[in-house]
Point group: C2
Chain length 591, copies 2
Amino acid sequence: MPSYIAPTKDMQFILQELLEVENQEIEGYDDLSADFTSAVLEEAGKITGEVLAPLNVVGDKEGCTLENGVVRTPTGFKEAFNELCDGGWTGIAADPEYGGQGMPYLMGTAVSEMLSSSNQAFAMYQGLTNGAYASIHAHGSAEQKATYLPNMTTCKWTGTMNLTEPHCGTDLGLMRTKAEPQADGSYKISGQKIFISAGEHDMSDNIIHLVLARITGAPDGIKGVSLFIVPKFMVNEDGSEGARNGVSCGAIEEKMGIHGNSTCVMNYDEATGYLLGDEHKGMRAMFTMMNHARLGVGMQGLAQAEAAYQNAVIYAKDRLQGRAVTGPENPDGPADPLIVHPDIRRSLMDQKSFCEGARAFTYWGAMMIDKAHRSNDKDADGLISLLTPVIKGFITDKGYDMTVQAQQVYGGHGYIEEHGMSQFTRDARIAMIYEGANGVQALDLVGRKLGTDGGKHVMAFFELVKSFISQNKDNEALADFIDPLKQASKDLQAAGMFFMQEGMKNPNAALAGSNDFMHLFGHVCFGLMWARMAKVATEALDGNADDPEFYKNKLITGRYYMARQLPATGMLLARIQSGADTVMGLDADAF
Amino acid sequence: MPSYIAPTKDMQFILQELLEVENQEIEGYDDLSADFTSAVLEEAGKITGEVLAPLNVVGDKEGCTLENGVVRTPTGFKEAFNELCDGGWTGIAADPEYGGQGMPYLMGTAVSEMLSSSNQAFAMYQGLTNGAYASIHAHGSAEQKATYLPNMTTCKWTGTMNLTEPHCGTDLGLMRTKAEPQADGSYKISGQKIFISAGEHDMSDNIIHLVLARITGAPDGIKGVSLFIVPKFMVNEDGSEGARNGVSCGAIEEKMGIHGNSTCVMNYDEATGYLLGDEHKGMRAMFTMMNHARLGVGMQGLAQAEAAYQNAVIYAKDRLQGRAVTGPENPDGPADPLIVHPDIRRSLMDQKSFCEGARAFTYWGAMMIDKAHRSNDKDADGLISLLTPVIKGFITDKGYDMTVQAQQVYGGHGYIEEHGMSQFTRDARIAMIYEGANGVQALDLVGRKLGTDGGKHVMAFFELVKSFISQNKDNEALADFIDPLKQASKDLQAAGMFFMQEGMKNPNAALAGSNDFMHLFGHVCFGLMWARMAKVATEALDGNADDPEFYKNKLITGRYYMARQLPATGMLLARIQSGADTVMGLDADAF
């Protein structure tokens, strides 16, 4: 069975040394002393490693079952969920006014990484609740907040997000679910929603569904869509659960992975719903927290890669096959461990340098979200809006690749289910799809975010890179980092320039390169993160750090990324600059 | 449910126009008229599309079951297998002396592509039999051949290959299964083998296991391993099935995919076995057909990508989401089909240009195998030995990526099992692992094949590329092909040079780049194939071909590959040239 040990040392390095959280002028960050963050991480590491990780394979094997409208979650899930709730973990970044611990989103992200690494399917019950909580918190009336948020903070009640219908996913303007206004101000909701994660289950007393629907007479398309709160059980005046509402689970999907999470077809049959936010502004209300949610999914790409990597390392050190090409390293044994072989190393280094780079990038992004919300910093908001599709798309694409590589280390033993390596791959696959498929992320990045506020935010990003380079260009210890970063950043600017010049004439020329651009942008962000981490590491080594090996290894890992991954930017630029002709050249019938 | 229609037109293009099979001076190729190959392809297309493809999802859902030592295959498998056998498809490339049709391996490859595309798990029952057949054919005594081959040609008896043991896969020198010589010249085989595809099932009357084992007193390591024929049922003098032999299936594995194939733990308990070939030369006997088998697995990478691609195209044309950025293309409908979106096009073009390039490459490789065997051509043998790890490793790596992309076109509908897109991904995953994991292919390529016969074969490959370039360098119609091919080939040579210079000093420097080199080599081969196909297409257009659209589309698809995929060679070269320092820099404990 695979294991998981939270990489708290690396998390702490990023929080305290890279991001220097305590020195940031963001509300609430002055509480984030090294002792405090360490204590939170260590405790979260315990429950995720000891309680949730052992249930990961159980969830995969058993899945969820639907009988007479009741969904049963896998053995042990409910008990573990209670433990998580009782420990206060579900509300660590929630508003203290409603029972939350009020920690920054950054701390919530670090804890979420552990939840996802240890048990993605399980983590979603809470993750979806957080999302629904955030929408109600941002758009609900005082009464709605008082009614729902306290129990959602503790996950006594869980939440869902209902967007997709059978004929529409990305294009929500095609939505058909209806909301009929009632005399008492409520609505009757009717329609079918699909792919509703945690739509029905046995882990909480009530389920608060957030449902997109079209009010009778609303305008066509996306501008006629409103958001509703539809509780599974009506809530009585005293806050207790009342009668069952007209919402039921019609089926649960068989999926490639995340079997432990119930993915439901939800049928709304004149269910009572309450408008959340303004009429016809449902998309806005649903997507207020989009940067949060998408960063969270990007983080899942990292989380699965990390868990898979840890187990690949264990196997590579344990499994004896062949001899090192430079001579036996385990001469008394029948063979050397896999880890002596250069191509196994190459694979492990791909994974390690990805995970550490991705962690720095997502945590930095999470800090920007805090800065935007807690300090009302418009520049931070603009920058994180720009980077969100990169975090979501690039990290989930690459994170999936890394789980495939980790599985490959096991050879045939990675293909059978016994060792759990297939599950990491199958579970990681969903992150490339949900919360906006990665092609949609690329479209959002190139078609919208690049040009937001006249391109101000992408210029700010280039300025960040440029100033780091100019501040450190004479630092010889960083030469392996500065030169590749400079080249990669140049490639990114050239790609942006190509879009500006060609995209005006032919928008397809920009969009045909959107996926490549998202990846190019991702590599530059990782390059920047690695260069910054390298700087921290060299300074720590100059300052006689306690654990010099940690920093030396950080530098080797970073050099690997710069030497072996950053050269992708040249290829991606070439693809982008080849334009749309070959991409759009065929008639649809020719496929 | 996914569908499959054999791409016979493209297959025929490759056989007749690219490879010009009828004009090749290879024994038996003069029979391969356009009418003949077309008839074979069309008939194979029928049975695979109509009989096998509908069973693909059935096999995935039901899997195989083991009860009291008996393995049951999924509903319909046995009947379909009988139909395949009755049609003579199992023996089309087998020796007429033993009831085969004696067609070239190339034709067997084309038919195998269809079998794999339509139902990979099913195709393996026959594929493994072919492998076992080939080993007996090459190394068996006259009596052994007469005893086993006729029934293996018709798949009345199927075959298996037993290599792996729990503690050894790649490193077969660690093998423990024992063979004790008996007075009558037979052996008693005892031990456990794992991951035995089609090890036990209900589709054939007998199963002929080929088992690697160590004769009592044999030398240690790989040089003490011999190969044995171990029939499930003993064969009586008159050829009928006799008593049950001491071999049984202890368990079947739960796997990520290919559920319809039974992957067995096989227990040998003093089973009667017969030496096949020479004592202690078991690896040679097992691997005589290695080029065949590995090319066949490479072809599976293509086959899954092709099937997944076909279904992605259907969905992309059918599913309405969003509007083309250049204005509605389906103005009367609620939205445009997915295929209008540039990033969906990009994905479909990736898939299409991969499949057609991979088909050309594998069929060309299969023709080289025929040339080597049928015309005893040592140069062809050397070249295909060099290219075999590239075909196996590159095409299965990329083929898997393509199934992931095809699945992505479906969005959330690709993640649930209902549409069958997850199955293509899960089934394709195994091809990167079995028949030598792709890291082992890369090692074989760089550590062994590059230097074979003093590097003669890689020089011959470069000569092929060079002469094509010099013959066509002034052909303006091919400029989009010649220039990128030249650059890519230059990158490949530079990588080879780096290995020669650095590898002498430090073998890790070469092996750290082995995976990148395999991919770099693969791109150059695809580039060469596309350049050749482009030449055929331009000539056909100049000659007023019947179906000009076919050739125009071929050129667009080829240009896509050259513009969008070949630039990977520069990145791969940069990775290779970064050497081993960052790859091998960490202590094992630092992972």
